[in-house]
């Protein structure tokens, strides 16, 4: 169980693992995530299940190396076993025939939006995808997303590929051009999701975002993942992670995400530990 069947580097610092886990592969639906722990001293990290193989034997995880735990996770090799993988967690995405859906993925957010794109397309929606990254080499899953999209727009901040600018600009353009949009699904950094919510709210386009607060257990027992939606406190791991974008308090989300900035630096800077860890591999 939890053996890494395949490891692939998708972009600098972004890795894909196919992880053997039949129980989760049989159960997981688009929008759900798992919590993994790579080794004994590691944190519990939530990662969206980006794909499932058709024989329901393994799940695909795509993650960006941003801190101590994800760096270590990324150092695992094909054939290694991950100590713990729990899931599938969270509520699945609402997948119905809505009409025209615009699916937006920013940065590593392309990985979690991909299974939603696939499911919406298979359900008969017209799917317009907008994906973007800081620069061309960080753009992931273009081919996969294209396969399930009626239209695909790409942006990069530095104009190295696709249109220059942000994914939100493309959404504004589509709206301005008069496209009738029934639903927007946006996953990415907090600031991106906030901007998109501000664009769609005046046009009354139903918009769904997937929130990524700091989590511990992922099963509703700690409240680390508290978010405010419509003025009420929700636990993102069990009540979400998807919520109505027009009701989310994004400023609170972004502040809470920065709760451990100092400790995260200290953890990465703990060179002694890292030497030990990576050598033992």
């Amino acid at each position: 169980m939890n053996r890494i069947l395949k490891k692939q580097v998708l972009a600098p610092g972004i890795k894909l693992f196919n992880v053997e886990n039949k129980d989760i592969a049989e159960k997981v639906l688009p929008g759900q995530f798992v919590v993994i722990r790579a080794y004994e001293q590691g944190e519990r990290i939530p990662l969206t299940v980006a794909d499932v193989d058709k024989n329901k034997k393994f799940i695909t995880l795509i993650f960006q190396e941003v801190g101590q735990s994800t760096f270590y996770f990324g150092s695992l090799k094909e054939g290694d076993e991950i100590s713990d993988v729990a899931g599938p967690l969270g509520k699945p995405s609402e997948i119905e025939c809505f009409g025209t859906c615009v699916c937006i993925g920013g940065g590593i957010g392309i990985a979690p939006v991909y299974p939603v794109i696939k499911a919406l397309k298979n359900k008969g929606n017209k799917v317009i995808s907008i994906i973007g990254a800081r620069t061309e080499e960080l753009l992931i899953l273009e081919k996969e997303v294209k396969q399930f999209s009626d239209e695909l727009y790409i942006t990069t901040d530095d104009a190295s590929y696709g249109k220059e600018g942000r994914v939100s600009n493309e959404l504004s353009r589509l709206i301005k051009e008069g496209m009738k949009i029934d639903r927007v699904i946006a996953i990415g950094p907090g600031i991106m999701m906030k901007t998109i919510a501000e664009i769609t709210e005046p046009c009354k386009i139903k918009t769904i975002v997937s929130l990524n607060p700091i989590m511990v257990d992922g099963t509703g027992m700690c409240g680390a993942c508290r978010v405010e939606v419509g003025g009420e406190t929700k636990f993102a791991c069990v009540d979400g992670p998807e919520f109505d974008a027009h009701l989310v308090n994004f400023d609170l989300l972004m502040k809470r995400q920065r709760m451990y900035t100092i400790e995260e630096k200290e953890s990465l800077g703990s060179l002694e530990k890292n030497k030990k860890l990576f050598k033992s591999k």
Binding site: D23, I24, K27, R37, Q41, G42, E43, R44, Q68, S69, S83, D84, V85, A86, G87, P88, L89, V216, D217, T219, G220, M221, C222, G223, A224, R226, E228, T233, V238, L252, K255, R256, R258, M259, Y260, E263, E264, E266, S267, S270, K273
Partner: protein, 463 residues
Amino acid sequence: MAKPILKKVPISEQCPEERIKNFNEVPYGYVPGEAMKEAKRCLQCKNAPCITGCPVEIDIPGFIKAIGDGNFNDSIKILKEKTVLPAVCGRVCPQEEQCEKVCTLAKIGEPVAIGRLERFSSEWEAQQKTTDIPKTPKSTGKRVAVVGSGPAGLTIAGDLAMLGHNVVIFEALHQPGGVLIYGIPEFRLPKAIVEREIEYIKKLGVQIITSFVVGKTKTIEELLKEFDAIFVAAGAGLPWFMNIPGENYNGIYSANEYLTRANLMKAYLFPEWDTPIIKGKRVAIIGGGNVAMDSARTALRLGAEHSMIIYRRSENEMPARLEEIIHAKEEGIEFHFLTLPVQYYADYLGWVNNMECIKMELGEPDSSGRRQPISIKDSNFKIPVDVVIVAIGNSPNPLITTTTPGIEISKKGTIKINEKTGETSKPRVYAGGDVATGAATVILAMGTARIAAKSIHNLLQNK
């Protein structure tokens, strides 16, 4: 008969100044001489009121007599007839509310130190190189799934394994033990002890599958297809908040999160271990139970200059174990009684920096029999804080009940059971521990598991 000795043999402990700098256990425990001396204080009453005071009816005079006679092996055997977790119960049971409360000696002096003696026996056993693993009978071929590996789950698993059934425990977290592992801190219940008890249960043939979230990975309905019966012992893991303004600011934790980070994820060893925790200088803990005491004493050990218990009633109503309150006071925890937080304030980055409170007074007794706190008008005042830990209670996590059609729950979210059998409203599904009783105690969780073990055994025999 010799004159009764009115005082307990004192137990040596780490001194407060030292222990607040480490996570090692506070009391050292009796040495054999001390234990035998304390055991001899026991009057060996014919009517043994202590046994009726014990929720699992341990033969208390029996095991104490064995200690007094120096037959330590017998004493642990007598204990294990009724409890699979003596090392745990000896440390965390509220003895002053149970066995020791009704001890005959308590009428004229201090009761026999039953808890310390129970702990002594378990300690003595651990020091012996070999633990007796009882022979389990031939397998009945019946399969029982247990959901959750806290005291209730471990107890029933042990009992049913001893009756020859195949037991699989499914645990949501990556480590078994429930509150004993993630909640109660190392300085009160060393994790090595819990792990030892779990190893013992595994040796009885019980299989434990971790990182398996029942209701998500598989539902109760699905498990019913693979198992003859199910015992739900998922605890009361959903933390309550007060829903007052500012409660989501940075630095405000549920006690569950704070203690899980500190204990299960070993944040006190950060950065050796990866999981961080905010080490506040002025830490306020809201609540007055064991959970609040554990949080307050953990905060102190993480370097707090002020660790403050904020409790809305008075000292008399505090539900924490007596020993915890005494230890907390010795360590310099500050107590603010008759005080209730009403709002939090934060800096521009969203970090809590002040807590507004209101003063309370006690009115008539409420449904719990305790005098009800009533707020005093215009008594608001502020306390500067940088970490707040909300420890006002927990209820069962709805993850299981919302995915199990046909299982009845109470208004409080607990699973309804027949107290005499542990049966739920759903055939072949039983429940016990905090998920059925609401947040209670280790020993009560064990007691309810015992009852369910008997009725599950009956069900399986007649099938």
